[in-house]
Subunit: 352 residues, 2 copies
Amino acid sequence: MHLADYPQRRFNPLAGEWVLVSPHRTKRPWQGQVEKPNLDKLPEYDETCYLCPGNERAGGVKNPAYEGVYTFPNDFAALLHDAPEESMNEGKGLFQAVTERGRCEVLCFSPRHDLTLPRMDISSIKAVIRVWQEKYITLGSDPLISYVQIFENRGSIMGCSNPHPHGQIWANEHVPDLPAKEDSRQRSYRKGHGTCLLCDYVQEELARNERIIFQNDSFAALVPFWAVWPYEVMILPKRHFASIDQMTDQEVTDFADALKRMGTRFDNLFLTSFPYSMGFHQKPTKPVEDPEADAAWHFHVHYFPPLLRSATVRKFMVGFELLAMPQRDITPESAAERLRSLSELHYMEQQS
Amino acid sequence: MHLADYPQRRFNPLAGEWVLVSPHRTKRPWQGQVEKPNLDKLPEYDETCYLCPGNERAGGVKNPAYEGVYTFPNDFAALLHDAPEESMNEGKGLFQAVTERGRCEVLCFSPRHDLTLPRMDISSIKAVIRVWQEKYITLGSDPLISYVQIFENRGSIMGCSNPHPHGQIWANEHVPDLPAKEDSRQRSYRKGHGTCLLCDYVQEELARNERIIFQNDSFAALVPFWAVWPYEVMILPKRHFASIDQMTDQEVTDFADALKRMGTRFDNLFLTSFPYSMGFHQKPTKPVEDPEADAAWHFHVHYFPPLLRSATVRKFMVGFELLAMPQRDITPESAAERLRSLSELHYMEQQS
Ligand SMILES: O=P(O)(O)O[C@H]1O[C@H](CO)[C@@H](O)[C@H](O)[C@H]1O
Ligand SMILES: O=P(O)(O)O[C@H]1O[C@H](CO)[C@@H](O)[C@H](O)[C@H]1O
C-alpha cells in the first residue's frame, strides 16, 4: 500500500479508533524553517513560583525546603476522597451520573526551577520513577481506587503555566474511558491470539524498523503506526510487565535513559522546551486478584505533543477532528525519521 | 443526586462516553471578571483576504465577485477523490490501513469580510442553510461518499486564522468514528425502546427545563447533560428528521433564527467573537435504501467552544483528558443558566 502518497485511514488496535492520514498535504520537501533556539535561562530558584522549595502555595501552605522529589495533594483537586456515594439513572438511561471519588496529587521532579526531565541526570530521573512506583502502589492500595493516572503537562500551550518541572497523579474510583478501552482491547486480543497485543506490536515494529526512534536493552521508543498527533510517541518495554512497580532495577535505569533521550530529541526538534502531555497506561489497581490483567496489560508511555512545524506552529484538533475523527498531515514514518535523525545531546548543552 | 456539589461522572448516551464533572472547583461565586468588549472593526473588504470576492487564492485561482454564498474546493484538501483503492492488514491486525477518498470544500457565508453568522440577517443565514442542504445532497449522491461532515471553525484559538465568515465540508468515503458511534447508539436505542434517542432527549430536557437556553417553534438550544466543553451546546429539532435536506421551509427559517440567537448569546458571553467548532451530525448518505437510518437518526448541531472564564481564559483538554477521559469544572446546569441570562441583541449592535 502507498502509505506516503494518498489519504488513508489507519486503525489503532489499542483504543479501537481510526485516524485519517493525509500525507499528500505535506509532500513538498521539508522547508527546514530555521528557528532561533530558545535559550531563555530560567533561574534555579524563583521566589514567585509556588512549586519552589520554601515558597507559599495557594491557601497559605508552605513547601518544605525539599531536596529531591516532592509530592503534595493538589490544592485544586478535581477529585475529592470524601464524597457521598450517589447515582442517578433517569429517562430511559439518558440521564446517568455517578459520584467519582479519588485523589489528585502534584509531584515536583526537582527542587531546581530551571530543569526539565531531559535535562536532569539519570539518577535524579530514577528518583522520580521510584516515587511514581510508590504512588502507584500506595494510591492503588486504597480500596476506593481502581486506576492511578500518572501524567505530565508541559508548556503553556498545554495549559501548564508553571515551568517548574512537575507532574500530576489522579487516582480514580472507576477506570477512566481510555484505559478502560485499552483494557478490553488488550484482553480480547489475548483471548483471540493467546499473546499480548503490545508484546506482538513492539516485536513487529523492531523487525520492521520504520517507526523506531531509538532503543535500549529494555525499552523501544517509536511513533505508533496509528499516531494522531504529529510527533506522537510511545515508549514500550520489550519485556512483558503490567505496571510500573513491576520494573526490575535494570529496567528502572533503562526507563530513566529512555525518558531522558526521548525528551532531549523532542527539545532538539524545534530548539525549544517541547510542549506535550505525557503519561502512563498500566494495569488498573482493582480488582486486586485478576491474573488475566497481568497477562493482558503491557505498561507503556504515551506522549501527545501538539507542535507540527516549528516551536510556534501547532496542529489544531478542531472542526473535523472534534466532530468526526482525528486527522494528521505528516505520516508517522516521516515523523519517526525526523526524530531519529536528531542528536541526543540537548541543544542547551551544545550551546554552552 | 447532588449534581452541583461533588465530583461525578456523567454518561453521554449518544456517543457512549463518560465525562468527569468537578463542580466544587468553581463553587466560589462567579467572579464576573469584567472584560472590555472587543469592538475591533474589520473592514467590509480586505484586499489581503483570500476569501474576499475578486481576490486571489493559493495557486493563483481568483474568486469571482460573488454576492451571496460562495463555495469552492479546498485548495489544501485533506481528502482526494482520485486515489487508488488500497488496503493493508498485517501482523495480526496491528497494521491496518485503507484508502480514504473524498472531497473537501470551503463555503463562504457572505462576501462581507466583517460579518459572522450571528451578525447576518435571517434571509442571508437561510441562504447558507440552502447551500448546506444542496451540498449534503450533491456530495452525498456521489456513490463513493458515505458521510458529509459540515462544520465551521471560528477564531484563531481554533486554528482558523481568517475571520472572513466561512465553513468547511468534508465528504468521506467511510462514516467517520464519531458519527459512526452515534449511528450505532441511536439504532440500538431505537431497537431497545422503540423510540428515537434524541426525540426522547429533547422532550425530557424541555420538561425538566434546567439546561434549555432558548427555543423556537422548531428547535431547542441546550447544554447537554453530558457536555464536555465549558459552554458546549446542542441545537435539536423538536420534530424528528434525519438530515438537513428534510427540513420544511418553516424549519429552515427557524433554524436560521436558532443559529443567529445562539451565536449572539455566545458572542455576548465574553463580549468577543466567540471561538468554537460547530457542525452537524446527520444520517450517513450510504447505504441509500435504509429506512432504519431515517427512523434512528435525529439531525442535530454540536457547538464545541473552548473558552472557560473570559475571552482569554480557556479550558485545556490535556493530560488527564488526553490520557484518561474528559473533565469539566462548571456544571452543565450553571453554563446553561449563564447562557440563558444573556441578551439576544449582539453587543456590537448595542454599542452603536
Ligand atoms: O482546513 P484548515 O482551516 O486549514 O485547518 C483547520 O481545520 C481542519 C479541519 O477541522 C483541521 O484539520 C486543522 O488542524 C485546522 O487547522
Ligand atoms: O491541574 P492544572 O495544571 O491546573 O490544569 C491542567 O491539567 C488538568 C489535567 O490534565 C486539566 O484538566 C486542565 O484543563 C489543565 O489546565
